[in-house]
């Protein structure tokens, strides 16, 4: 596998962030128009955490994700066509339409499932990491979760066992200041989720979750630590979600002012600006990427709309191997 040049890698990161942004905008729009059944939880505003973390991973590394997992999946390399088809509940979706938004998985590229239970993926991550190590590989496992999940018992049990067994897990908390509708101050007695790492004597770092390169830097260090057999890390990414917990959320718990303040720290815009000014990449190149992504998303929507519905008989398959 050819190693990317630094510039290529930065452009790849930019492309992924744009893809997440446009995908989630499109999903929000399509959901409001009735194309997507059920619930969706978009990650608009949180693109830098997904991309920063996953850019430090290999294709054969693993992630477990959350109910707000579209960004994680895209960042890990999932194809937006099959993701969109899955959201539409079509036969061509990643899960044949049987999982939906919260259960997208692509095990070929290490995406071991988004999860509808808050904290549900957290106890599974150490098991994946354990198997990877026992099989003699140096594959690492990233476990995504939010600030809310850090109150779940499963979070504590998972960090504990990973620490005791020194497993190659990287715990990534996307702290967007709200667990559903409840703010941080009502959820925990500490200011930072990273503080909780002390209970397990593992490194706990805090990073600006809207700065993709800062996130990437911490991810690289944590991945190295894990790959070298030195155990887990907890990375807390301070960030914010622009939309409600779910599409349709009346958002009674926060002000539009607060949202607007955070929108000024748009991770995608910040990164684009960085590429233009510090890396001297031409506007034209970035525009080309934008256009390419735009087309890919349009193609994905067309693919999803034109794909056949899942056959009814599929309701009875895949219960057992």
């Amino acid at each position: 596998m050819r190693v990317m040049s630094e510039k290529e890698r930065l452009l790849e990161m930019y492309k992924k962030m744009v893809t997440i942004r446009r995908f989630e905008e499109k999903v929000s729009d399509l959901f409001s128009k009735g194309f997507i059944p059920g619930f969706v939880h978009v990650c608009l505003g949180q693109e830098a955490t997904a991309v920063g973390i996953c850019s430090a991973l290999r294709k054969d590394d693993y992630i477990t994700s959350t109910h707000r997992g579209h960004g994680h999946c895209i960042a890990k390399g999932a194809d937006v066509k099959y993701m969109m088809a899955e959201l539409f509940g079509k036969a061509t979706g990643y899960c044949k339409g049987k999982g939906g938004s919260m259960h997208i998985a692509d095990t070929d590229i290490g995406i071991m499932g988004a999860n509808g239970i808050v904290g549900g993926g957290i106890p599974i991550a150490p098991g994946i990491a354990f198997a990877a190590r026992e099989k003699g590989t140096d594959r690492v496992t990233v476990c995504f979760f939010g600030d809310g999940a850090s109150s779940q018992g499963s979070f504590h049990e998972s960090l504990n066992i990973s620490a005791v067994w020194k497993l190659p897990v990287i715990y990534v908390c996307e702290n967007n200041l709200y667990a559903n509708t409840v703010p941080l101050i009502k959820q925990m007695n500490v200011n930072d989720v990273a503080t909780k790492s002390k209970a397990y004597d593992i490194p706990g770092v805090i990073v600006d979750g809207n700065n993709v390169l800062s996130v990437f830097k911490e991810a690289e260090e944590a991945v190295k630590r894990a790959r070298e057999g030195n155990g887990p890390t907890l990375i807390e990414c301070k960030t914010y979600r622009w939309h409600g917990h779910y599409e349709g959320d009346p958002e009674l718990y926060r002000s539009q002012d607060e949202v607007n303040q955070w929108k000024k720290k748009d991770p995608m815009v910040l990164f684009r600006s960085y590429l233009l000014k510090e890396i001297d990449i031409a506007n034209k190149i970035l525009d080309e990427i934008d256009n390419k992504v735009h087309k890919e998303i349009e193609d994905a929507v067309r693919f999803a709309k034109e794909s056949p519905d899942t056959e009814l008989s599929e309701a009875l398959t895949d219960v057992f191997a």
């Binding site: 071991m112 994946i128 895949d318």
Partner: protein, 328 residues
Amino acid sequence: MRTLTFREAIREALREEMRKDKDIYLLGEDIGVHGGAFSVTQGLLKEFGEKRVKDTPLTESAIVGTAVGAAIAGLRPVAEVMFCDFFTVCMDPIINQAAKMRYMFGGKIKVPLVIRTTFGARLSAAAQHSQSLEAWFAHIPGLKVVMPSTPYDAKGLLKSAIHDDNVVLFFEHKYLYDKKGEVPENEYTVPLGVADIKRKGKDVTIVATGYMVQVVLSAAERLSKEKIEVEIIDPRTLAPLDKDTIINSVKKTRRLIVVSEEHKNCAVTSEVSATISEEAFEFLDAPVKRINTLDVPIPFNPKLESFVLPDEEKVIKGVRETLGYKFK
């Protein structure tokens, strides 16, 4: 033929399978150095080392969660939840994750996971250590539930459970561990989903599970002296249930009693009763009778505990009632 205890038979199954397949790992509390709360895994740490016999922290969610993760990433773990009563602490990884992952992900993965546990009363272990919670799991699509009643079945079923690429919950009745039975030296398995006729008879069919199979066998011996011949069916696998064996028996005897140590309300035995009522109604000469534990938490006092549990007397009384049933 040699005899082994129920406990030894389970241990032998684990040992033989672990020797054949390096991907089998044991995870659980006190299973290593201590050899298991009920001494089932004694000697396995010595043979297979800390690498494959892991004394975990006290952490059911993480034990089972870790086992699930390991199963989807290439290993074949056998996790132990010491008492089935503790499943309450780790329901999510079993019910919402392991049972559903294959289906939700469109068939992409398999979850070759065995979870062993103990269940049942008569040890004065009181309400939180005496339950029979198999019904919770039999209810969930994506889970298989196995419950042996003899050493022969225990060894054969555990091997099959380990070979199965799905989530299998393996329920071991605490009171059976010391029970001896014939176990062949040669390699054998007992298939999942197949019931066993433990005693042939013509007058009434009794479906019994776990330790109750032994209780019903004793009751049958006593009834035989009165020329009442009981046919005893041990489902061995509660989910998926072998309905055909039960229906064929009911066609012959015309009467069915279901016996388990579960609370009567909403038990697996309720499911058997409903199924037979639905699919073998014409053959029944009496309603299906259920003999279970009373619907109260299990009391500590030994006499009270006996009072609430099903026993030989209650089974015999039930047989007489069923045989004496007349349509009004």
